[in-house]
């Protein structure tokens, strides 16, 4: 059982036991202890996830249900996000390109920016807000209302039923949502370009994809899978390890969004470095 020690409590223990350590030292030790406990917990969670993922009894129906919940039910949000991304990017960058006489580069520039970076990162961040918080809150409330324990005592593995299905569904659906957002972003960009110009849809698309190659798509798709896995794992981990009170459900949801968003940016930074090193 995980026991995190609040810093104030650690200081109180130090005072009561007249330890020959300063309160500051005790506080630091408590912080380090809590960090290591959380880290070990996360490792155990991932290990258990991997083990259950390769078990024979895979919950296919729940996996499909989660694919529907994550993919289909996020479509409207992602549609708006993708469209606005392309539209705003075009409106903002058009004047600069016009001043250099490079207006014809606009579709290509928008397409490359959207596909390589903006599409995956912004869509993943939006999904972190919707999907990871939803998982954190759902699993957290299941923990509080003893539903997870009810599964355990019925010899149903909650890790297999709840976590594996959600994480795999997120890993599969987030890249699809990202590709969908990229497509709508280019449509938004075309509309943005037509506010002050006049360019046909076919010409805009052919110009856009003239600059986009497989080499742009591959790293973006690969990192999208990692974004999906991060969203699923963090959302489930926070919910699965929520505390006992109702307050912890809110905390789990909130912390799922914050941690997932932060991890998405870190994964993106690493992905960019790797792409750069491989000269992709």
């Amino acid at each position: 059982m995980k026991i995190n020690i609040p810093v104030s409590k650690a200081k109180e223990i130090a005072r009561h036991h007249t330890l020959k350590l300063s309160e500051n030292t005790i506080a630091k030790v408590a912080i380090a202890n809590n960090f290591l406990t959380d880290f070990a917990d996360a490792i155990l969670f991932i290990t258990s996830f991997v083990k259950e993922t390769f078990s024979r009894k895979f919950e296919v129906r729940e996996f499909l249900h989660q694919c529907f919940a994550i993919g289909y039910k996020s479509l409207s949000l992602i549609s708006v996000t993708g469209f606005i991304m392309g539209f705003v990017l075009t409106i903002q960058s058009r004047p600069a390109l016009v001043s250099f006489g490079a207006e014809t580069m606009l579709p290509g520039m928008v397409a490359v920016s959207l596909i390589r970076e903006m599409g995956p990162v912004i869509t993943a961040l939006i999904c972190a807000g919707k999907v990871a918080s939803g998982m954190g809150a759902e699993l957290g409330s299941m923990k509080v209302t003893e539903q997870i324990e009810a599964m355990e005592v019925s010899s149903i593995h909650p890790m297999r039923f709840l976590v594996v299905t959600r994480v795999l569904a997120a890993t599969l659906m987030i890249p699809l949502l990202i590709l969908y957002a990229d497509g709508l972003g280019i449509v938004g960009s075309w509309l943005g370009a037509n506010i002050k110009g006049d360019v046909s849809f076919v010409l805009f698309f052919s110009q856009a994809f003239k600059h986009v190659g497989f080499i742009d798509l591959l790293p973006a798709v690969v990192k999208s899978f990692f974004f999906g896995a991060v969203i699923g794992l963090v959302g489930c981990y926070k919910g699965y390890n929520a505390g006992r009170g109702t307050e912890s459900v809110g905390k789990a949801a909130n912390s799922a969004v914050v941690s997932a968003s932060l991890l998405i940016l870190i994964v993106d930074m690493i992905a960019v470095q790797i792409t750069d090193m491989l000269a992709l």
Partner: protein, 260 residues
Amino acid sequence: MKVEKTDLLLQDSPKTDAKEVVIEITNLTKSFGTQEVLKNFSLKLYNGENLVVLGKSGSGKSVLIKCIVGLLRSDSGTIKVFNSNVTTLTARKLDEMRQEIGFLFQSGALYDSMTVKENLEFPLRRIKRHLKQKEIDAKIEEVLDNVGLLDALHKMPAQLSGGMRKRISLARTIVVDPKIILYDEPTTGLDPVTSDEISLLINDVKKKYRTSSIIITHDIECARITADRIIMLQDGKAYKEGSLKQFEESTDSVINFFFK
């Protein structure tokens, strides 16, 4: 408040040794941090009996049954269920053992996102894999009929009252035919009439499904209706064990506090 010695009180226990023991707990100790919740606690559950574990809130009753099903790991002592020591079982063996035990949670713990039918189907499909859909449907209808809620088949848990949730939860527990049922505060939060209905239902389940049960409660009426034998838990220890009559006739101040 004078507390009599447990050893002396245990001499009043009814003679039930001739029956088969289904759960045997010996010197169970469980602590959370510095707080010792169970201290060398021992009990035996005999086949076909309803054993009521009585005690104040926070006396370690729920911790006790969570240790029995392996939801909590004990610090020391042994817990034998059908002669298998729960504390040393492998994960696979623990799963097998859990299929023999039903657990009724205090909150009901119905799965919010599923209908009543899906709640009952969920464990049945996974534990009794050989059953066909027709047999599953028939079994679900049978248990819902037994708890008197056949018309709630397609309702969501949010549409059910507290008493109905307990009944459905009991139906979900018995649908997989457990040999032992552990009830965690089955009547908590219910009005007296519904509490009595649930207590009577516990007796019906015992008769119909021939189960052995441990009923954790602080509700004396529930204990009066269901108990074949009672163990009182006080400060993590077995304070007194005996029949309902022995408890009601006791002059002990701690027991009187509950029974009078």
